[in-house]
Amino acid sequence: MRWLGRLFEAGVYVTGITVSLVVLVMFYYVAREARYAFGDTFAWGFRLALLPADSSDDMSPGSAPYTTLVTVNAEGSDGLDEHEEIVPAPSVSSVEGEMMLTTAATLVSDITDIRADRLYRDEWRALKTTQQGDQFLVLGYATPRYQQKTMVLAWEPDSGFDPTLSPYRLVLRLVRAPHGVDVQPFDIDLKRQPSGRITLPAWVARTDAERSNGYVFEIQATPHRSAFWATLRGIFSTEWAPTLMYPRYGVLPLLIATTLMSVLAMLFATPLAVATALYLSEIAQPRLREWLKPALELIASVPSVVLGYFGLMFVAPSLQNWLGQALGMESGRNLLTTSVMLAVLAIPIVASVTEDVLKTVPESLRESAMALGLTRGEMLWKVLLPAARSGIMAAVLIGAARVYGETMIVWILSGGTASMPSLSSLQDVSRVLVGSTRGVPDTIAIEMGNVAFESVHYGHLFLLGVFLFAATVLVNLTALYIGRKQVWRV
């Protein structure tokens, strides 16, 4: 029998210590998976176009008909091999309309390899590591009908691409001027000047074969900043759009939205929950309390998916009907509705913990207050609440942590648009309140369903998890710390 006892005790120690370490193990693995966020490939792309010298300033490479897009992204095949899919550059005779200038991608990186019969409109390449960088050569020429003496080279980042977030040094330079054209070579830092225009002497290609003799521009990306810092900068930017061609992984809008809805929910829930707890512990008859306390616990266990559906089918349309006109609500699924349902989730939790706290306040405090001739209301307000203050704050924090990590209610009710909330004026605030939003936990749950495992996007979802985990652990530990301080023990 003694060995059985030893075994039991050994089991107790091993399990006890294991259980206590679970939270650390979990944090370690969630943080470890976040390493995939720091992959070292970054998409980038620019549009180049030649424009007539007399074109207006609002004509951009994006709107010019014969513009060339050079890009490196996840969808790009390596343009050097698979050019069947790529549109050939227009021949000299086929260029029509007022735009008699074109640019063409060469699909080669060596200037001596440029061939007139292998020119294309755009060039898409597959991602390479930041250490390799990449480089494009682009031809530029005018067609015979072009009469002006000069022409303008214009460039801009491809839509959705922000050069400042990229880890490369990005340079646009003139590598070769056509024979007989006298022009100053240029070398432009595309990070400082992401878009712009520069005037060049016009050069005309008379035949298709002559096209390869035109201006040759180069856009080059060379490793500059470490991929790690570039990722980090991306994380603390203000846009979350992971499925774009140039994905953005800025977590700030999600974190701010989650914080905003939690704070709002706790503002709604705290007075109701504390009042409920005060009533239960100080005012209700014991028989009623015996029923209400379990009822409260029961209510706290309604699954949050169900609360979410209730919000969707009942609260959202009702709020839309009452306040839709007044606040300019476009849909019932918005930050306000989400906060209301989160408050419903929080009330039983906060009330239940607060009631436990009130129960621990010594009877002697109540009795002395009554003996001093205070009314019951004065006793509650001036003695009990101050005495239980830190415990109540802890209860509110526990509720806040629960609300902060709530997934399903936010998923169903928030509307799902990730945008940076602006709170600079009262109008903005009301727009944010009734606007569609998106939080951290729901983003993880929704997007993990369609993500390639161990991709950069997958890593960023785990990174969001790390932020969420850290925030809730911090709030919980704060609750634990301040909950332990009890005023009457001083």
Partner: protein, 302 residues
């Protein structure tokens, strides 16, 4: 010192006393109203869902599989999946949680270390369920190669319920009266004999209801299952035998979450029926546990 005497007598002035009493009444009334408002809100939600869901529920709804791409038929596979998940969780969390609770209550002492262990488990208790899903996905599904499966889901949910089970066990053990333990010691029992023969049997009802309560809550949580065990298209053709553990499993919260993602495929009546089934599933388990606990507490009024 005259002013001191004055302040003592001011409360005795009748006008003030009446005003104080009015304020008192108003405050008590307001608290009562607020308390009833919050209880009524949540009871109202439960009532609303019962009203909406009841028409959809019938015996065939609960016992037949979905048909026509989830747009008709019943939800039997989801109910079965939820029950399986809950049972698996129960089996896994029972030894871990109880031994952990015994450790905290009897062996960890009251040192700084034990306070740290407490804080660590409390942090786990407050961790959002979606984090458990992430961990389950990274470790059980991918690293241990279990794939999206019932086993991975049960393991994830077991971790999710672990802190609650540890704490309820600890409380149940601590609430065993000191006199029982002293009596045991006086009879010359060793520490583990005391544990095994005196403390655990007396704490057992509290421990069991605690476990049932927390697994009940876990059965209603969607995010951990979403990432580790769920499957949307369930048919009547269900896996049997041990194979069950390796297959993904349809279940109620996942059905609701994924149904929302798919957007309007599931008719509203079936959604409400599923909501009600899930809510009753969780509430009935909890109600049973709460009733047992109250009864036991009354019987054990030491």
């Amino acid at each position: 010192m005259e002013s001191v005497g004055e302040t003592v007598f001011i409360p005795a002035r009748t006008g003030r006393r009446v005003r104080r009493q009015i304020i008192d009444r108003v405050l008590v009334l307001a608290l009562t109203a607020l308390a009833f408002a919050s209880v009524a809100t949540v009871l109202g939600i439960i009532g609303f869902i019962i009203l909406k869901g009841l028409p959809a529920i019938s015996l065939s709804f609960l016992t037949s599989p979905p048909r026509e791409g989830m747009s008709a038929g019943g939800i039997y596979p989801m109910i079965r999946g939820s029950v399986l998940l809950m049972l698996g969780t129960l089996v896994l969390v029972l030894p871990l949680g109880v031994l952990g609770g015994v450790f905290l209550a009897e062996y960890a002492g009251r040192s700084t270390l034990s306070r740290l262990l407490h804080a660590s488990i409390a942090s786990l208790a407050g961790t959002p369920s979606v984090i458990f899903g992430l961990f389950g996905l990274a470790v059980f599904v991918l690293m241990m190669n279990m794939g999206v499966s019932l086993l991975a889901g049960c393991l994830t949910l077991a971790l999710f319920t672990l802190p609650a089970v540890v704490f309820t066990t600890e409380n149940a053990i601590r609430s065993v009266p000191e006199s029982f333990i002293e009596a045991g010691l006086a009879l010359g029992l060793s520490r583990w004999q005391l544990m095994w023969k005196v403390v655990l049997p007396n704490a057992l009802p509290g421990i069991l209801t605690g476990i049932v309560l927390s697994t009940g809550r876990a059965a209603g949580e969607a995010p951990p299952i979403l990432l580790t065990a769920g499957i949307y298209y369930a048919t009547g053709d269900l896996p049997r035998g041990w194979d069950i553990l390796k297959q993904p499993v349809a279940n109620l919260p996942y059905h609701l979450a994924e149904g929302y993602r798919q957007g309007g495929v599931i008719p509203e009546a079936i959604v409400w029926g599923t909501c009600l089934t899930l809510m009753l599933f969780v509430l009935l388990i909890n109600m049973w546990a709460i009733i047992v606990r109250t009864r036991v507490r009354r019987k054990q009024a030491w």
